[in-house]
């Protein structure tokens, strides 16, 4: 589904990613872990198409398509969706309006007509309930005055409505108490199926207790230095990143 090959990325002439390789297949959940500043957010931002990152080498293919040639919105419409670590506030724009515009833009790209209003209302009510969000959140301005946890739940709500093929979730667990973490994890788990994949970016192991990954990768200094299954996360938790570095250097 997603194939990242030898990816080199610089930000303001500073090399951040230095030859990263990653392959994600349909049905899989991958977790990328690593210390602060390793380049985890950079990876998901580059895949989503954020400005300010220069790809100096390498390729990113999504279902065989060259992602780097696509506009930001084209990537999203193709089913590549980024859940933000710090979702922005958009004053005056209703949450439900953004959801509807996004869903209809994606449907249009698939050659489908606009979703009928009653069907849409039913869908968002249902998904809001799953995320334990009061329907009043739909009528509020996007993320405006939301608490940290509410913003994160809102990100997952968007995922549930938009049903991406590949959901990339950047530090979706940060700032969540244990109850909110469970709601968010349940939401993410409900997205899991054989045709979909999930990329979790985190530097804590605790999220992975709730969303069990198939593959865990350790990103250090712009490269994936170790990959394994979910036990790798536990080992990292116990032994720290230095252990991986020593291991890879040897």
């Amino acid at each position: 589904m997603l194939e990242v090959k030898d990816l080199h990325v610089t930000v303001e002439d500073k090399a951040i990613l230095k030859g990263l390789n990653l392959t994600i297949n349909a049905g899989e959940v991958h977790a990328i872990m690593g210390p602060n500043g390793a380049g985890k957010s950079t990876l998901s931002a580059v895949i989503a198409g954020k400005d300010g990152y220069e790809v100096t080498q390498g390729t990113i293919l999504f279902e065989g398509q060259d992602v780097l040639e696509m506009e930001i919105e084209e990537r999203a419409r193709a089913g590549l969706l980024l859940g933000f670590q710090y979702p922005v506030e958009i004053p005056g724009v209703k949450n439900i309006y953004l959801l509807k515009a996004a869903l209809n833009a994606q449907r249009a790209a698939r050659g489908e007509g606009e979703i009928p209003a009653p069907e849409f209302m039913k869908l968002v009510r249902e998904k809001s309930a799953e995320m334990k969000m009061d329907p009043s959140f739909l009528q509020r301005a996007v993320n405006e005055g939301f608490s940290g946890g509410e913003k994160k739940r809102n990100e997952i709500l968007q995922m549930l409505v938009l049903q991406p093929k590949l959901a990339m979730l950047d530090e979706i667990d940060s700032g969540l108490d244990i109850d909110a973490m469970k709601v968010v994890a349940d939401g993410v788990n409900s997205l899991r199926d054989a045709n979909r994949a999930i990329l979790l970016v985190t530097h804590y192991q605790r999220l992975l207790n709730h969303i069990e990954p198939d593959h865990v990768h350790v990103l250090v200094d712009g490269r994936i230095v170790k990959s394994g299954d979910k036990d790798l996360a536990l080992e990292l938790e116990a032994r720290g990143y230095d252990w991986v570095l020593e291991g890879s250097a040897a």
């Binding site: 919105e73 922005v88 958009i90 005056g92 724009v93 953004l98 515009a101």
Partner: protein
């Protein structure tokens, strides 16, 4: 997003530029007493009206154009303007839309204003001003039943001279300012509304102004009077065809609200702003003023300004009556080389008067805009209160927005609050929307519309939809 892309995005062509060639009965360019006499005669006006015009003309001769506004424009040659233009056979004027020149209807169609549809569906009475003469007035009977008078000012001068004489020039005196004086001398049409005591006007009143004949300055005069406990909502919308020379528009709007009356005046204005170099746009120098003459009266101005090469406009409220209320909600969008100097004046005269100002400015391209707000609290205005909020949104880095709040507070019991913000349209907001699949243009308009929300929600429903569409056209780019 790179600012270059941003520029691409905000550059767009004026979609409503075209000219309809209905033959006009136009006077040669120039202005002197005989021009004024010609206009007055054409309009079959009584002598007092001609005298009033001439008085204004003599005052105007002694005045000089304002130079203090934050604007730059070449001097206007008032002798090069033609002061009267009318469709050829005034006696053949249609009584209903069926009789309207299909070409005119086609024109409205192109403007995206399906007049008949709007009128029928929305139940809006329409007094369409085409060039300087009203060509159609609809829903008159329904208004007549309610006792509401809604007609062209020329008709009002002939049919209701006592009302016109009683109120004309009492809010904006002939010599109020340079452009008002010129308007008083040469105004050719506009609307007149009178809502009698205790009547709530049964429908929203709407007028589409449109400048058409080449080289014709447009001098509209609108007078709206709401008697005691009466209410009216008036909508004004404008567009103009593309052309090469700058066109002067100097309208005067006077509103009078008596005891407990409420006038809501909404404008969506989309005049030709000129090409990318600013050539050929409309000069819009308007005097709009409301007089809250009666106790507990209320006047509310809501405007969405997206057009004109140069806009100079300060809808104002004179709060004379005790506990009277003045409101000003404004969205001004400038793009290309447009210049706008707008704002409001709230003059608190009576006790416990209140005013609210919410001004949103959006500048894109190389445009420049200024907000100028005066809040004046007189010595007798005990307990007066004002709240002002001015927010500017910049798109790209070649535009400018300036805020000039003026306060004159002659009374220690007054409360005046002012808040102002300037922000750039945030790249992270755009990225957020686009990363959800929404294209760049829609994302910009979504964010901008969100920014304008506080003002749009003051507009009547159908107008709010139109305003949003207009905003999108104004900021539409050539991406894709």
């Amino acid at each position: 997003m790179a600012s270059e892309e941003m520029e691409q995005l905000v550059r767009r062509e004026y979609k409503q530029g075209f000219v309809t060639d209905i033959e006009s009965d136009t006077v040669p360019p120039g202005l002197d007493e005989s021009t004024i006499a010609f206009i007055s005669q054409k309009k079959e006006e009584p002598q007092w009206m001609l005298d009033w015009r001439l008085e204004a003309y003599h005052q105007w001769l002694k005045m000089t154009p304002p130079s203090w506004a934050h604007l730059e424009y070449p001097p206007i040659d008032y002798q090069a303007i033609s002061y009267f233009s009318a469709p050829k056979k005034p006696e053949d004027r249609p009584q209903s839309l069926d009789e309207v020149d299909p070409k005119l209807l086609e024109t409205y169609e192109k403007l995206g204003i399906p007049l008949h549809e709007r009128a029928a569906l929305a139940g809006v009475a329409v007094d369409a001003v085409f060039d300087s003469v009203s060509v159609t007035t609809t829903f008159k009977e329904k208004l007549h039943e309610a006792g509401v008078i809604f007609c062209s000012i020329s008709e009002a001068i002939r049919e209701y001279p006592e009302l016109v004489r009683q109120y004309l020039g009492t809010v904006v005196p002939q010599a109020d300012n340079y452009f008002a004086a010129l308007n008083s001398a040469v105004f050719t049409d506009g609307s007149f509304v009178y809502v009698p005591e205790g009547v709530k006007c049964p429908m929203e009143l709407s007028t589409y102004f449109r400048i058409n004949a080449a080289n014709t300055g447009q001098f509209e005069r609108t007078l709206i009077i709401c008697d005691k406990q009466a209410q009216v909502s008036y909508l004004e919308g404008c567009t103009a065809p593309m052309r090469d020379e700058n066109q002067l528009h100097a309208a005067v709007v006077e509103l009078v609200a008596l005891e407990d009356a409420y006038i809501k005046y909404s404008t969506v204005q989309n005049w030709y702003p000129g090409d990318e170099e600013g050539k050929g746009g409309i000069y819009n120098f308007v005097t709009k003023r409301g007089d809250c003459r009666g106790d507990r009266s209320r006047i509310s101005w809501t405007q969405v300004e997206t057009g004109s090469a140069i806009t100079w406009k300060y809808p104002s409220c004179m709060l004379r009556g005790k506990e009277s209320i003045g409101e000003f909600y404004s969205v001004a969008v400038t793009n290309g080389r447009q210049q706008a100097d707008t704002g409001t004046k709230m003059i608190h005269i009576g006790e416990n008067t209140r005013s609210t100002i919410v001004a949103k400015g959006i500048a894109a391209g190389r445009s420049d805009q200024a907000y100028r707000g005066l809040v004046k609290i007189g010595p007798r205005a005990k307990g007066a209160r004002n709240y002002t909020q001015c927010d500017s949104l910049l798109i790209g880095d070649q535009c400018g927005a300036h805020t000039f709040p003026y306060q004159e507070i002659g009374n220690s019991t007054a409360t005046v609050e002012h808040e102002a913000t300037t922000s750039k349209i945030a790249d992270d907001q755009l990225f957020y929307c686009r990363a959800r699949g929404i294209d760049e243009e829609d994302a910009v308009s979504m964010i901008v519309n969100g920014f304008c929300k506080d003002v749009f929600q003051e507009l009547p429903m159908e107008f709010a939809v139109e305003a949003e569409a207009l905003l999108n056209v104004t900021l539409e780019g050539s991406v894709g």
